[in-house]
């Protein structure tokens, strides 16, 4: 079984994003970029399935600028087999990404597509579900456990009240949550090896997909700031404040 893992190049999760002065977006010039953390978890899970002998090949795909090559190489260094870069400098919305991924799914016929549940830049949390809709496949979102059982995959999902388990008929789409696994670091020899792994260069036009955006961003602002309050001197003062707030009698 082949596993397809879409990955996105995003601002590194340790960097505090700064809103541009002109309100057109977040400033990404000279900012460290990395693989979206949830996608890293997806790559790791695919590798673990392959190590268990449950997957035969791991194909990475990214939609983004030329630089997204680096992100793909990171995944190849972790252990994926080959990669596809669908190159565009335009911002591509989840719906258009899902359409491009559907075209890749049609070509590659993976048994499972493993994606991060959301990208930490636009925080949309849509692509996996949209891809599932477009391919008519079942979806196991926010996965904290993935188990292949015959011609089905059992996915334990992080839901608001706790955990929920669903069984999906393969082929299926799975999106990862944080607790699924801890991604490995690529070793130096593997980083070197990744440089020679196949990386195909494509464009959205190759797949005949219209990626024109449906949403226009009118402005981007910093959220309203909270003012720092007062520091209290004792527990008694805090007890009195709780009484003022009416949370205790």
């Amino acid at each position: 079984m082949k596993i397809l893992v879409p990955v996105k190049r995003v601002i590194d999760y340790n960097v505090k994003p700064r809103v541009k002065m002109d309100g057109t977006g977040v400033d990404l010039t000279n900012v460290k970029m990395s693989m979206n953390p949830f996608d890293e978890i997806a790559v790791e899970e695919a590798i673990r399935l392959k190590e268990k002998g449950l997957a035969s090949e791991i194909v990475l795909v990214s939609v983004g600028p030329q630089k997204a090559q680096d992100t793909l190489r990171t995944g190849l260094a972790m252990g994926a087999d080959r990669a596809i870069l669908i190159q565009t400098d335009q911002e591509v919305e989840p719906l258009a990404v899902a359409k491009l991924l559907k075209a890749v799914v049609d070509e590659e016929q993976p048994g499972i597509v493993l994606l991060g549940k959301q990208a930490i830049d636009d925080d949309c949390n849509q692509t996996g579900q949209m891809l599932a809709a477009l391919t008519g496949r079942p979806q196991g979102t926010f996965a904290s456990k993935v188990e292949i059982k015959g011609d089905a995959v059992e996915v334990t999902r992080e839901v608001d009240g706790g955990l929920e388990t669903v069984s999906l008929t393969l082929p299926a789409i799975v999106t990862t949550d944080l607790r699924l696994n801890e991604p490995r670091y690529a070793s130096l020899p593997n980083i070197m090896k990744a440089k020679t792994k196949p990386l195909a260069a494509k464009t959205p036009a190759d797949y005949g997909v219209d990626i024109a955006p449906r949403l226009t961003t009118l402005k981007v602002e910093e959220p309203a700031k909270r003012q720092a309050g007062v520091k209290l001197g004792s527990v008694d003062e805090l007890v009195a404040k709780f009484k003022d707030l009416g949370v205790v009698a």
């Binding site: 579900q129 809709a133 069984s167 449906r214 009118l218 981007v220």
Partner: protein, 311 residues
């Protein structure tokens, strides 16, 4: 203009998140509520939905296939009904986030996630970059598909309405997925996302035992829900469904008490819209104090038991 809201319900009662989504929907037009479920419980939920102030009509889809809100089954039902509506709204909850994009893609619509405000029929604000920026976006799609952040809108009154209930049917089981089971955390405490008071613990608590020994009694005294920082969850001190933050739950209680939480951006994204923030931390330079209304610097292992005892 008419708007369809997918109602979330449990045990015949409407979830609070759906009441806030009804409020958001009212800003767009006449609100119809879709209750999908199975049997007597679904019927009871539909009757409850009919009582919500501002709901003009309830659509009840009663089929065993809708019992567990599997996206593969529920999305086609919503899509079948979508023709009559200009907008379809979901809660930004684990159910809404799961179902809404599947509906949006089937309708060829680019969804707007986590809506914070409705500026006009096609313009919305939403958080990006973990709430470090707020984007105002305008949708050019004829139909809108939105998920609504529960803390951003007030709850519609659960009573006062008198909508009619109409039965609808969909294709039922798509045959793609099956519900196996759920492990829900049972708790006597209020639910985290709708509680008036939340007490959250961080990594400084040091262990699962200390977390429960210190946080639980204080939460009980305050009638509060219990939350945790991602660091505390990652360290195994608290279960994942306690997690408050960008990757966990977004809460905005009247009072939020952060104990031993340093205040990483990730965590602040999940609680900074709270009414009053109280922070207890031994490090007086901790970022949590930059957003806290009331701060107490000191050893939480002394402060928390003393506080619990004095309340």
């Amino acid at each position: 203009m008419s708007v369809l809201v997918l109602i979330e319900h449990e045990g015949g009662a409407i979830k609070d998140a759906s009441l806030t989504t009804v409020t958001a929907a009212q800003k767009l037009g006449e609100v119809h509520a879709l209750v999908a479920g199975s049997g007597a419980e679904a019927k009871q939920s539909a009757d409850a939905a009919a009582q919500i102030a501002g709901v003009a009509k309830v659509l009840l889809a009663d089929d065993a296939a809708y019992q567990n809100m599997l996206a593969e089954n529920v999305a086609p039902l919503v899509v079948d009904l979508a023709g009559g509506y200009d907008a379809i709204l979901f809660n930004a909850t684990s159910i809404g986030k799961n179902v809404a994009p599947r509906v949006a893609a089937l309708l060829d619509v680019m969804q707007v996630s986590d809506v914070l405000s409705i500026e006009s029929a096609d313009t919305f604000t939403r958080p990006i970059y973990a709430g470090n920026a707020i984007a105002t976006v305008k949708s050019s799609d004829a139909k809108k598909v939105l998920t609504v952040r529960g803390t951003a809108f007030p709850k519609a009154a659960a009573s006062g309405g008198s909508a009619s209930v109409e039965a609808v049917s969909g294709a039922g089981d798509a045959g793609l997925s099956r519900f196996v089971g759920a492990e829900t955390s049972k708790s006597e405490r209020p639910e985290l996302t709708s509680a008036k008071v939340v007490v959250s613990g961080g990594r400084a608590l040091g262990s699962s035992e200390e977390f429960h020994r210190l946080i639980d009694p204080l939460a009980d005294k305050l009638g509060a829900a219990v939350g945790a920082s991602r660091a505390a969850v990652d360290a195994g001190y608290a279960p994942n469904d306690y997690q408050v933050g960008q990757t966990g739950k977004i809460v905005a209680p009247e009072v939020y008490v952060a104990i031993g939480i340093s205040g990483a951006i990730q965590h602040l994204a999940g609680m900074k819209d709270s009414g009053t923030i109280v922070a207890i931390n031994k490090d007086e330079d901790a970022p949590i104090f930059q957003v806290a209304d009331l701060g107490l610097v000191g050893d939480l292992f002394q402060i928390v038991p003393e506080l619990t005892q004095k309340l």
